[in-house]
Structures are given as C-alpha cells and as structure tokens.
Symmetry: C2
Subunit: 215 residues, 2 copies
C-alpha cells in the first residue's frame, strides 16, 4: 500500500472531509493540532500521516488546505473518472445512483440495474433501469471495473459472480453478505450497521441502562 | 472504552457480520485463523480481541459462534431497544427508515421528519412523515436519544442544534457536514464516500492508469 500505513490510509477520507469543510468557510490553512482534535488522534500521528503524504506544513500556519486536498485526491486516484454501475434499484440503490456528491470524487454512475419488471425501463437518476440480465453485456461493452451492489441478500452471490466473470475488479458491497471473489477482485463491505453499533455502545454506557451489568 | 482497544472496538461489527454469515449456513464454530483470513489481520490480533471480550475458544474447534455473537451484542448494548428518529425523508432517509435489518440490532425507527410540505403526511416505512418543526417536541415526549441525520447540507447544523437542545445524545450523521456538538453528545460520521476512496485507490493501482505517476 504505497508508503503509508493501513491506518493512515483509512484516515484519508476523514482528512478529505475536514479539508472540504474548512475550505467551504474560506480557510486556507489547517494545523496538525486542529486535525488531531477533530479526529481525536494524537498530533504526532497527524504529522506522520502528512509526512507520509509528502506534505509539509508552514511554521505558524499549518498545512495548505488546497494542496493537501489535491495530494489526497491524487494519491487515491480521485482525479480520474471511475465509471460504475449500480445493481439494485431499491431505496438505497436510488440514493446512491442520485447522490450529488459522488462526481466531486470522480465517481460516475453510468447505469442502474434491477430484476423487477416494474422497475425496468423507469428512470433513476437519469438512467433507464436495465434488466439485471444485461449486466454482463454492459460491463463488457463499457469496460466497467466497479459495481455498487445494493441487491437483496439472496441474489448477492449470483450477481457478484456474473459481474466478476464479466470483468469487474472492485465491488462496493452494501449488502450484508460476505462475498467470495477470486484474488485480484477487491470487495469493500459497507456495513452501515457498524455506525449504529458504536452509537449503541455509547448510549448504553452514558445513559446507564438498567440492563447494564457494569462490565 | 471498557477493556478493549479502539481498534478492536472497530472490528466488532465485522466480527458480528462474519458470525451471522457463518451461522446462516449452519456453522457452530469459527477458528481464529478463519477470522484472521477474512479480516486480513494477524491471527494473534484475533486471539487478543477474543481474550479481551472474555471469549475462550475450544481446542480444534474454535469459538462458539452463538456465544461470541451474543457477547458482542451484549457488549455493544444491541440486546436493548434503541428508539431513533430519521430526519430527512429523501432516498437515503427512506432507505434507512425502511431497512429491514436494523431490528436485529435493537434499532427501532419510531418517526421520520422532513421539511417538504409535499412529503409531510405521506408514509415512509409505516410512519407518517412529520414536519421538522415538530422534531424537538417528539424528541422530548418520547425521550429520544438518537437521531439519524440525512438532511441536505444547508440545514444539517440547524437540525443538529434543535435535536441536541431537545435532549439527543447521539447523532448518526449521513450528511457530509462536520457537526459541532457539546461534549457529552456523540456524532458518528457515516462517510459513504470513504468506501469508494479505498476502491478508487485499488483500481488506480491495479489497472495502472496512464495518469499514475508511479508513486
């Protein structure tokens, strides 16, 4: 993974979000201390991450926000366009297919697929929903490397197989399924429930529920 | 954070997901080696996490799946019911308000709010959408501690302030905004784009895009 640690890599999206927020209010510099406080990590770690990214701060000013943001985007390949297909046209698939923020990151949704005859042919985010039977053909024709998977649990494996056989190399998995893919194919499991688990733990401990056994 | 590390804490949702997947196919035990391979972490780390959770494996069998799952659920407070309100009835809010999996984790959506007169009064997931003007009153009346925030960027701060003043202690934030909250209030930022960033990096490096400068 290049020259940065896995943990640093996982922090890049948060750095990027913070930089955007600061830039939106007109800030040009951000200090390692500010970053460390927002992220609730040690300032030394922030400085190390920046050094790994080959970003240098200025005395008394901090890091130039636009340069740092551009460096992260370049590092992650966000300045190139990545075309993707959304498979599953339910509420979540629709939310993802119509999410306005993706374009800023180079992510371009170029098709939406579903197996429901009532949905096929309707429009989602400017795309005519296509039958999932045509998924492999579209992947091959457009040379698609990424699919966004929001199908029901019972078809997740089948769709994955079809997509991988057609040449997909990356799967953004919003289903709760563990997907088996050949080596060389990357799956990112988006476990939305994980966020709730952290909050549940917080609430359990802060509100001192009567069921809490004090562990 | 109790007796487990922050990193171990972050692994709990993934452990939980894997246990569910194994349980669904009838498995009763899982080994530290299997967990380590799926999570792509060192087996020693898995063993340490299990020890921290006070879960002991059996020689040649591994960890009992249902006991481990119950332990994680108890640790995180998932066996109690947490009532939450969804604020923002767009596609993402609708997806979250109607997500069938949340109940398994004790998360119960008890109301949906929006500021669009066209949406107020319509049904989302069995709930009549209420005006966001009534948010504070409902939080107080039902003693709600958690809101799920899917509003547009420009109202995120205002809604947060209203909710916190009304007594909310945890915010599951699906907006791209950094929220300022008083100490004692926990925000979980759900940065969906972070998942794409990891995949983008993978695709950039595996497909060897022409823009790649070989760093």
């Amino acid at each position: 993974m290049d020259s940065i640690s896995k943990a640093a890599f996982r922090r890049l999206p948060r750095y990027h979000q913070i930089l955007n927020a600061y830039e939106a209010v007109g800030r040009e510099y951000i200090s390692s201390r500010e970053l460390s406080e927002i992220l609730e990590i040690n300032e030394t770690l922030v400085r190390k991450d920046m050094a790994d990214l080959k970003i240098r701060g200025r005395q008394n000013q901090g890091y130039g926000i636009s340069a740092l943001r551009a460096r992260i985007e370049d590092f992650l390949g966000l300045q190139e366009i990545t075309e993707a297909l959304v498979v599953g046209g339910g509420h979540l698939g629709t939310a993802l297919a119509t999410y306005p923020g993706f374009e800023h990151y180079g992510l371009k949704i170029v098709g939406v697929f579903d197996d429901d005859p009532q949905k096929i042919g309707t429009k989602i985010g400017g795309h005519s929903v296509l039958s999932v039977n045509r998924l492999a053909a579209v992947i091959q024709k457009k040379n698609i490397k990424l699919i966004i998977l929001t199908v029901p649990r019972h078809v997740a494996k089948e769709v994955t197989e079809v997509a991988v056989n057609a040449g997909v190399l990356a799967i953004w998995n919003f289903t709760p399924c563990e997907l088996n893919v050949p080596s060389g194919v990357k799956v990112r499991n988006e476990q939305i429930i994980g966020g709730f688990m952290a909050l549940s733990y917080y609430l359990k401990n802060v509100t001192g529920s009567p069921d809490d056994n004090g562990e």
